[in-house]
Symmetry: C2
Subunit: 459 residues, 2 copies
Amino acid sequence: MGNISAVTYARANRHRFLHELKEFLRIPSVSALPEHQNDMSAAAEFVRSSLLRTGMENVSVIRTDGHPLVYADWLNAPGRPTCLCYGHYDVQPVDPIEEWRTAPFEPAEHEGNLYARGASDDKGQLYSQLKALESLFHVHGGKLPINVRILVEGEEEIGGKHVAQFICKNANTLTADVALVTDTKMLAPDVPTLCVGLRGIAYVEIEAHGPAVDLHSGIYGGNIQNPLIAMAQIICRLKDEKGKITVPGFYDRVAPISVEEKASWRRIAADIERSLQDRVGTALCGEDGYTPLERAWGRPTLDVHGIIGGFGGDGPKTVIPANALAKLSMRIVPDMRPAEVITQVRNFIHEIQPSGIRVNLREIQSAPAVVVDVHDKYVEIAADVLRQVFGNRTVFVRSGGSIPIVSDFQTYLGIPTLLMGFGLPDDNTHAPNEKFGIRNFFKGIEAVIRLMERLKPVA
Amino acid sequence: MGNISAVTYARANRHRFLHELKEFLRIPSVSALPEHQNDMSAAAEFVRSSLLRTGMENVSVIRTDGHPLVYADWLNAPGRPTCLCYGHYDVQPVDPIEEWRTAPFEPAEHEGNLYARGASDDKGQLYSQLKALESLFHVHGGKLPINVRILVEGEEEIGGKHVAQFICKNANTLTADVALVTDTKMLAPDVPTLCVGLRGIAYVEIEAHGPAVDLHSGIYGGNIQNPLIAMAQIICRLKDEKGKITVPGFYDRVAPISVEEKASWRRIAADIERSLQDRVGTALCGEDGYTPLERAWGRPTLDVHGIIGGFGGDGPKTVIPANALAKLSMRIVPDMRPAEVITQVRNFIHEIQPSGIRVNLREIQSAPAVVVDVHDKYVEIAADVLRQVFGNRTVFVRSGGSIPIVSDFQTYLGIPTLLMGFGLPDDNTHAPNEKFGIRNFFKGIEAVIRLMERLKPVA
């Protein structure tokens, strides 16, 4: 213990911290796939025992109808603020597995990066929080400078339904002043970044039901609606070739991007657009009248994630399938309402369904967009901490992605969230060869330490 | 042997013939799926040993780069015509397996039908030929009334490339006067039917390549072309909502349906359309200005058989896939040329490819349409034989399906084909719960016996 600072302690233990993170990454906790059920329990248990070792109290695994939550707290700093930390131990599926250069669940170090599914999203970033807590407890004689709750879920990649239910149900006891989420990205290496806005999401499955049974395209082709073609027609009716969504009423509540925001985004646009461009490998394109950054942060969009039906094997099977299914999502912005968007799409597809086809729509996930005030006192402290850790002025960005938990913190607990992310734009999250900068892992620990030490005087 | 007729012999052996057919149907010879490699060999061997037992000569399994062919002949009737018999021992995949009421490879008798994958298409119908040969040999003292060659393939359901190569390569030695194919359907029970026309096919795979890697739809959504949406757009550009194919030049060579054909089709339309309707379960619809029968037999069409790309599992994976693939086919009619059709589609999709998407097209299978003259002498004999066996006048139909081998017989051997089919419209070929009428199996044997006995005097 002695007189060393928490940051010094963290630096002295880097090797062990990295070793422990690798252990965490070896657990293939893919929440979307039922065959990983046991791995989900193992990952929850890993988080639980890590929290126990830090010094946190009330460490518990909370069963849900889905994957378990892990909760812990330390609330022995009366009169000081309470920070609700959040992370997730689940990861995305690894397909297409053949595109990985190293095994997704065998962490591999290469040129300062750690390659593994979940390295950046979110195990590495979550583990930064845990190691910050350990460091603080260690140098403060088994205490923390502020009150801390931590809530870790295993369903972030599949909709986070149960953590939302837990927060809703325990809204009265989960008191906190500010939430801390480390699940976002920095603009570029050494450019500290606070995310102050997220798009929401409305994720649905659309089914098109055609003939009563699968049919031979030779005998029936030309006389019936093919559900796959009908699905293609429906998709084309939802979004035009210029990227404009054509569902009636869809844009009615879209808040315009303010002149001030447009100006501030313009200053950082070049780097972000270059980074998008680099990953994509083709020209950026989208809705007319908006810059790429405005499209990504301030405009809604619609994407198809999969179309299922018919024959996917090799060779010429000539089937007209009885049914087709499309998985698709809309990213939504303030002040759109997810339930209303879903109703609009449902009504529209019923209106346009081709004769001979019955359609139905099922909601899979939804969350409203979130925007945090850049002049909030906690946001200002976090920005200053990041400047100190990375040596550059903190920039405020939004993300085109969705973190439904942030809406839940806002809706149920009435608290703002600090989206302090340490990922980089080329981390390949949700894709093959995901990685996390090892340096960012360590800087993340230091940032969380300093944030908790700085939040203290605000009480 | 003695004085009994071949038909009497066949009737006396029905029980055994059905038992043997069930053995054949138990072999899961799905040509499209690599895991059935051994089953393909087993099915070829089953055909070989069945042929050996009949009395055929030169019985041989012919290796190809794909699944083997089985060939046999009996050419000891000088001065008499030679009939080239054809069938296939491969079957369609069974998916969706959950919709089968009985196991697809455990033949089940129910209300006079035999349920199994391949029962009608084509093992049951092929076996009718084999048992007709056995019956003829048995009662004619080990001889046949005509010369017979038989060629059985294992790739009919996956394009039949190797049998086509074999016929092309051996065109000079595979001499014959007429071909016999038992792989089509009767109009209705007890309505003997000769098929005198088949649509051709042009089966292709279209790939749409978008971003360099799979991307997160939150970060990139709104700024890139989604290959699945691009594929939907391409599909919508190939065929309009009224069923008209919009590929430039596509209809240029389409032979109009003659007034005589229209009139003859009108006389049998009601039954066929009712049977199509019954299976489909929804209203028939298609190209304006044509009856359902005209659309099925005399008009080209386009169908999508599968769209592959992105995420097909449960839950909300938010991926924009790097690539999407569609499997689709055009059914073509006289005088369209498959290679030209494929070139037209290839050129068109390159012309319409959305910016940010590269498309390519791969040919999987193609065959021209075939029409046989109803006044051909062999066609007239076959029609009379069928009338005798089923007790009703034979009707001449076409099929909307494609049997590429018939084009090969025409192109390489210069012979007409008798498409004498014993299937029924509700046989569920290419779909769950395929069946074959047991009575039709037996009638098929008798029809082939009588045909071979009647072809004799034509020499």
